[in-house]
Amino acid sequence: MTKVAGYKKSIGDRIFNFVNYTLLTLLGISTLYPFIYALVLSFNDGHDALKGGVYFWPRVFTLDNYSRAFENPNILGAFKISIARTVLSIILSVFLTALLAYAISKKGLPGRRFFIFFFYFTMLFSGGLIPRYILYRNLGLTNNFWIYVLPGLYSFYNAIVIKTYFDGIPDSLSEAAEIDGCSELQIFFRIMLPLSMPVLATISLFVGVGNWNDWFTGEYFVTKKELIPAATLLNKLLSEASFESSAGADGFQNINEALQMRRNVTPESLRMTFLIIITVPILCVYPFLQKYFVKGVMIGSIKE
């Protein structure tokens, strides 16, 4: 608590601060605790966890849940696919979306309203799963790495966010650059982009997290094992664990019980483990972008 020179906090201020900080601390704990719980369960024996009573630390510590995830021979390849698609998507998507945002932020653009409506329409309707599958198949994108990048290059929502930020940059800057002989592209690269780091960091995180967590594309449009990303593979392992836990599903051979018993893992413990595995990389990246979020917290608000 900093004291402003000459200002003494009253008792009411102190009480307010105390209550305020207490409530915010409780809020913070309630937000943080589910993640801690997932972390604890991921390191706890699956069958022991079923008995309940595990809250803040593992009761029966084990690395079996992580072994189950990482023993799969495709896991490293899956992570490479995830990293590649995330990095490529961030670079291409952010650049192209910013380009679109810059174009539609120009009030003098011929057909501007038409273009805005054209892209806005895509936010309202989707063709559905089967038409999408047929389209991707016809374009040669199924079982192709670029299925992870190309369809997601444009998001009009992100374009609106960036456009709103561009609207907040004074026109006088770009006018001055124009007078000095800069072309539109030069204005975009030399003036707009450098001044837009907060919004670009925000959009990069949206795109990055979306790509990193996306399991759907790999599940529906890719069948080659070497092309599936980490989220799809982990989802597959989770489905296998659920299938194995349904007794009698394999009839005569009854291998499911042995598959379950080889490690003390359950679908519940695996679910927590995969949550941690998929979240930790994002947590590692976030601190580097945090300063931009602080600056960018007013994105989309009213500009004067």
Partner: protein, 570 residues
């Protein structure tokens, strides 16, 4: 930038823009297009009319083709080797049949996957998918539609050459299932699907042994013999004694007298004394055929459950609890009385409660008597009703090899290979029966992934009219045998009345009118009612809604049609 360069760039970008907009239009020449009712598409390539004696087990001519196989079951990938090419059994099958599989598995909804492949026309060479019934909305309906639209290969030109496949299509399936689903009238006498995971004889049928289970230590302390609990009322009296007995779980928490697994599975077994032993939605009460909802016994079921809940004898969370919450209770022995089928209970408890507290073993109580005074039994149609099925895509690369692959697996030699592996390597013959070697028994128990990767599991997904349970019986489990005795398995022949009901002309309208009605939820609501009168009022309101939707007319139709069928079964 020069103005002409700028204009060129603009034109280029606009052209790209337009191309991207129209990219999805038109069709690709390389894609398999869906066709509709074109009979010529159902004709196979020129077939060899020579019959093949499939009792001869000759190797393929050395040429191995790779067929795309879709295992359309969510999560079933754990049954398949990581790499089929490295699997010993898959390689043996390739030598024998000339077929290697390229396996695709799913982790999503089966109906969605089927709709996607049929709509896109991308049907793999062989598919294994659920086929519970061909009523609208499920996988069976999607498969039926695809078959009638020519997306699935008609099997009739081939099956005479493959007697084991033919047997799968005729044996081990109930008469109702065969007439109404496998040989659906819309198929026009043609055959498209091969039922799988079906038994060859009654002895091969899995008896799940659903029972009411009570903790053995509690019964011993109360001095109650399990066989003495043979009615729902006596079960209620036992529950009262448990409630008064201050029993605890492994953590010292008071027990919940009775409960269930996730989402109330399966409280119905507490109501065995209110069952008439029927197998369909239709009942003959006092000589008159009616719908089950009109049965006075339904009132008694509601009142009995309400009694259990109002007296604190049934877990109020049971109806809506998740799998995790249910298992947390059961794993600690907190639920004194529960229901389940034996394999589920055994497999779960062996890994949890029985490891640390074997004295808390659950034992079945009964046998129960039903409302007719007969021993309550599990009823199965002779032959399976609803099953997984195999079918071939219209553009299957080599239908004869695909069917030959399935046929071989279902031969005596093939069954032995895919179940017990190669003699001398994976198994030996002891007293005329195959037995895994010690090494492979150990691998099966302690390294099941290796067992699966060897290929000793996956081929079960191609077996039908399965004789293995009786041919090679597994070691007897006394607890399982006891559970089977308490709830015996009874087979019935004939046409299940539910199949006759499918032909009701206004069935779709009736189902549309009743689609939003959920008896399970109303039943649960009634059991939480404050008074018996209120509970019965909820039940009667539900009945009225069905009557308003046309149930009366439905009943009249069934009263006219069912007597015409000689071997109708209710």
């Amino acid at each position: 930038m020069n103005s002409w360069k700028k204009r060129f760039l603009i034109l280029l970008l606009v052209s790209l823009f337009i191309v991207s907009v129209v990219a999805g239009c038109g069709s690709s020449n390389n894609s398999k297009e869906a066709t509709s009712n074109d009979e010529t598409n159902n004709q196979p390539a020129a077939t060899d009319n020579e019959t093949v004696d499939t009792d001869e087990t000759s190797d393929s001519n050395g040429e191995v083709i790779t067929l795309d196989f879709l295992m359309c079951w969510n999560g079933a990938s754990s049954q398949f080797p990581e790499d089929m090419e490295s699997s010993t059994i898959a390689q043996e099958l390739a030598k024998k049949t000339g077929v290697m599989l390229n396996v695709e598995t799913i982790t999503t909804n089966e109906t969605e996957k089927l709709n996607t492949i049929f709509a896109a026309g991308d049907v793999p060479d062989i598919v294994n998918a659920p086929y519970w019934s061909t009523l609208p909305g499920g996988e069976g309906a999607a498969i039926k539609k695809a078959a009638t639209e020519g997306l699935i290969l008609e099997l009739d030109p081939y099956i005479d050459k493959f007697p084991n496949v033919k047997r799968m299509m005729t044996e081990g399936i109930s008469q109702s299932y065969k007439e109404y689903d496998v040989e659906h009238p819309d198929y026009g006498g043609k055959h498209y699907v091969i039922p799988q995971q079906t038994p060859r004889t009654d002895a091969d049928v899995t008896h799940w042994a659903y029972n009411v289970w009570v903790r053995q230590d509690i019964l011993e302390e109360l001095g109650v013999e399990p066989e003495s609990i043979n009615t729902s009322e006596k079960l209620y009296e036992l529950m009262k004694k448990i409630q008064a007995g201050n029993f605890v779980d492994i953590n010292g928490k008071p027990v919940i007298v009775s409960g269930t697994w996730h989402n109330g599975w399966n409280y119905h077994d507490f109501l065995r004394s209110f069952s008439r032993g029927t197998v369909s939605n239709w009942r003959v009460i006092d000589g008159e055929l009616t719908h089950w909802i009109m049965d006075p016994l339904e009132d008694q079921k509601v009142l009995f459950m309400r009694k259990l809940i109002s007296e604190g004898l049934f877990d109020p969370e049971a109806y809506t609890q998740t799998d995790t919450v249910a298992k947390e209770k059961i794993a600690t022995g907190r639920v004194a009385v529960l229901n389940a089928h034996y394999p589920h209970l055994r497999d779960f408890m062996r890994q949890t409660l029985y490891k640390t507290n074997p004295e808390m073993k659950y034992v079945p109580v009964g046998p129960f008597l039903n409302a007719e005074g007969q021993v309550y039994s599990a009823k199965e149609s002779r032959g399976r009703t609803g099953s997984p099925v195999l079918f071939l895509g219209k553009d299957c690369k080599d239908p004869e090899k695909a069917l030959g692959f399935i046929d071989y697996i279902n031969s005596d030699e093939g069954l032995l290979l895919v179940t017990y592996g190669i003699e001398g390597v994976h198994h030996t013959i002891v007293d005329g029966k195959p037995q895994l070697t010690e090494e492979w028994q150990d691998i099966k128990l302690n390294d099941p992934t290796r067992f699966v990767n060897e290929g000793l599991v996956f081929a079960s997904n191609f077996i039908g009219a399965d004789p293995r349970p009786s041919m090679w019986p597994e070691e007897e489990d006394p607890d399982y045998e006891r559970a089977k005795e308490v709830t015996p398995l009874e087979f019935y022949d004939g046409i299940n009345a539910n199949f006759v009901a499918r032909d009701y002309p206004n069935r779709e309208i009736y189902e549309e009118n009743t689609a939003a009605l959920d008896y399970g939820k109303e039943f649960q609501r009634a059991t939480f009612a404050e008074t018996d009168e209120e509970a019965l009022q909820i039940l009667n309101e539900f009945r009225q809604k069905l009557l308003d939707a046309g149930l009366d007319d439905y009943i009249k139709y069934m009263q006219e049609e069912c007597p015409k069928i000689e071997n109708i079964v209710y």
